[in-house]
Point group: C2
Chain length 465, copies 2
């Protein structure tokens, strides 16, 4: 049953690449109002494409760009229900002069490592990646006429922009979008040819902290000493947020954070994820985060508090003997599974207020978009059989990796539909997503389709119910 | 002998005010190249004016605006030698729309407190102030035909701009400008009608500190935790510069700093200089500097370390989950008598380097213009008899106060001519020096001239030799 599909995938590869390139021609930059008509056109194209292989499609208005939904076999309630999520919007293309060819005229070329690839904005993120799944579905349906699961496909147009649009949409849809699992194809393989499933994501909350002291900027000769300096106050507060071991000092900050299991620690150790290599590329030599944790642990399983920006006082040339009236810091926390964003925000504010010296005031601002940390249950049959399917295709054991980033929609699916997500992607680290000359290797596109076919095969075999 | 002069000062007051207003008409803004011809014209006027009452004058090129020198009685080596220093350049006048009348059209008006005053840029700082001395000399000479001391008057044109010009000039002049004492009229009286001598000034050194970490700004999802954050590093270094008592922690920082004598502490306590009043005006309630010291002590006798500006990372609207590659702070130290600026700079750099964590680098930049802290020997006959002279004129004991600011030229006179300075001024705190609608009370101008005449009288009586 599977082999027929794999063979057809191989045989119609040209056809799949043509579909891919058609999709890539739409300059659907969701954050740019001058491209909103292009987003609509992309959504129309997607609807027609999915309709063409048997999905029942619909287009949905959101507070941002339209979302497209495609469904198959909704009435067959005895089958498991899979929701596939992706996004058709792409990153802006500037700086355009660094592109070797126009970003919306996809072309087959070779990568620096000599591999055939399609170059275009969105080639990888996320058009190429999401098509690996949709093409696998298209071909499976063309071979067998049916799928072994109910399918809901949701492709949105605001992933690269404001994640609140899809959050509001998912909240509104509620149970109408409930499925057994969410499949997402927007992540990387591990180490070039080792397939990977991302089983954890960090959440994120953002806080601005503003310290005000004197009513106006002061002359440091007339006031230096007795007057409170907001930059010194803010620096001291920031310094106190971590102890000497890099551990965050906010009371109750680690409430709910689970210790890293021995199994997971061993799994990650086997990845040979080295600070020298990973951090070396950005000019760092060692993992300088929380003491007692490896690079992978610091990045994937431990929460952080980062200062993203800070400013106050005189920033021009030369010296100016001024005591500033105000200082500001932009702070974000990366959170892990078990931490409660709301409580952390409240404790953070309370903690800073408790340490505030005399003669100054503190204000806070936030920017919304809170997301919780996520960890997938690695014992679930989806993870187990997806691992096997990927390993069969790529010939190497599947790496179960974490990720330090936040994908808010994964938290939304958890919050609004109570669904777990399975993150499987085939992007390579040289894909230049978000950068000029974005590409996606033809090999990844092809093996990606075959990987999904193998996972569908596991469901067809009744291994996942 | 003195009374004749005091009477004449009173009798020719109109004449003195005319001289003052003539002087104020020159828009000699030294920092503005479009006003350099006006600076030259001011210098020419000054030379003619001093020449007119018997000084031998000369104009001197500097690396900035011309300096004017006037001398009297240089050959009379049995007399003490007084150098009077002032500046003819004035601050820029913007914002012009806040002036009630054109800033270089001096006019007699009334202050908000109902006192007659001349309003113009420079009315107080420093044209009005320096004329109190020169008019006293003019009138003394017109009455007696001679002075009881040799006199050198030095009026420069870069005080409001780059203090390096006069520093280079003084270094070049060396012993040619050596006198027994420098008199400077560029400070305030105390508490509206209490005369004051400023007996200490703080010095100043400036340092920029730049922390570099990652090669580029990093995504806090992919690198947050293991990568070193330069803002956190810089904040921590800044926080460590003071201990919990507000004492600076740099090794050897307090070397050479003398304890405050009981006499001085009592003197300052008697001034009733209250944090609530002084700091209240700028929105502060208590003197929050070094613990165990009063407001006056924190401001006048204790060195400080201030962060004048700091910045790094994202400073725009909303959140950006970035780890910055760099963070910068602009720091100045106010120094007191006994501290060595060079050693403090070296110890500061060494100290920060010693605390630098892994994965980052530190760079320093300076801006020149170092100045040492200054304390005048309060037992010198100049201080003693000037105090008496002022008290006789104003009817209240003279306050011996400190100042937290730096007047680099005072350090220059100390360094290049080994001269002490006596700072006596008649400015009131509502003079709005540097601000729109600058003024100088006619009372201050008049009593200022009489105060100087009384000091000249002390020398004439042989009390100062």
């Amino acid at each position: 049953m599977l082999n027929q599909v794999l063979n057809k995938i191989d045989n119609v590869q040209e056809e799949s690449i043509t579909v891919w390139c058609d999709f890539l021609k739409f300059p659907g930059i969701g954050t740019d109002p001058t491209h909103h008509a292009d987003c609509r056109a992309t959504a129309n194209w997607l609807e027609a494409y999915m309709n063409g292989f048997g999905l029942v499609t619909s287009q949905h208005e959101t507070t941002g760009q339209p979302a497209v939904i495609g469904r198959w076999g909704q009435e067959q309630s005895h089958l498991p229900h899979v929701l596939f999520y992706g996004h058709y919007d792409v990153q802006p293309v500037d700086p355009l002069n660094l592109w070797h060819a126009p970003p919306f005229e996809p072309r087959l070329g070779k990568t620096e490592r000599g591999r055939p690839a399609i170059f275009a904005r969105g080639a990888s993120d996320d058009k190429g990646q999401l098509l690996t799944f949709l093409e696998a579905i298209r071909i499976w349906l063309s071979v067998h006429g049916s799928l072994p699961f109910r399918l809901t496909v949701l492709i949105e147009g605001d992933e690269e922009g404001d994640s609140e649009h899809i959050a509001r949409f998912l909240e509104k849809q509620g149970k109408a979008l409930k499925a057994d699992i969410v499949l997402i194809c927007d992540t990387e393989i591990w180490d070039d040819d080792v397939p990977a499933i991302t089983t954890s994501l960090r959440g994120c909350i953002a806080e601005d902290v503003i310290i005000t002291g004197p009513r106006i900027d002061l002359h440091s000769g007339y006031y230096g000493g007795p007057a409170t300096n907001p930059i010194k106050v803010l620096s001291t507060l920031i310094a106190k947020l971590h102890d000497q071991n890099g551990r965050i000092t906010i009371p109750h900050f680690y409430d709910g954070v689970k210790p890293i299991s021995k199994v997971k620690a061993a799994q990650w150790a086997s990845l040979k994820f080295k600070a020298k290599d990973y951090l070396g590329e950005v000019g760092q030599t060692t993992a300088s985060g929380e003491k007692g944790f490896t690079l992978a642990e610091q990045l994937w399983s431990r929460p952080t508090c980062e200062v993203n920006g800070m400013w106050g006082g005189y920033q021009g040339v030369g010296a100016k003997t001024v005591l500033p009236a105000e200082a500001t810091a932009k702070i974000t926390f990366r959170l892990v599974e078990g931490q409660n964003p709301k409580k952390i925000r409240a404790n953070f504010r309370k903690y800073l207020k408790s340490m505030l010296p005399e003669n100054c005031k503190i204000k806070f601002a936030t920017h919304g978009g809170d997301s919780t940390g996520i960890a997938v249950d690695e014992k679930s049959p989806w993870v187990k059989h997806a691992s096997a399917a990927l390993a069969e295709e790529w010939g190497k054991p599947t790496a179960l990796v974490g990720s330090g980033v936040s994908i808010p929609v994964v938290a939304n699916f958890k919050d609004f539909q109570n669904m777990e997500s399975l993150l499987i992607g085939f992007s390579r680290f040289d894909d230049a997503a978000h950068s000029p000359n974005e590409k996606y290797d033809v090999e990844c596109f092809h093996k990606g389709m075959r990987s999904w076919a193998r996972l569908i095969g596991k469901v067809a075999e009744g291994k996942i119910k």
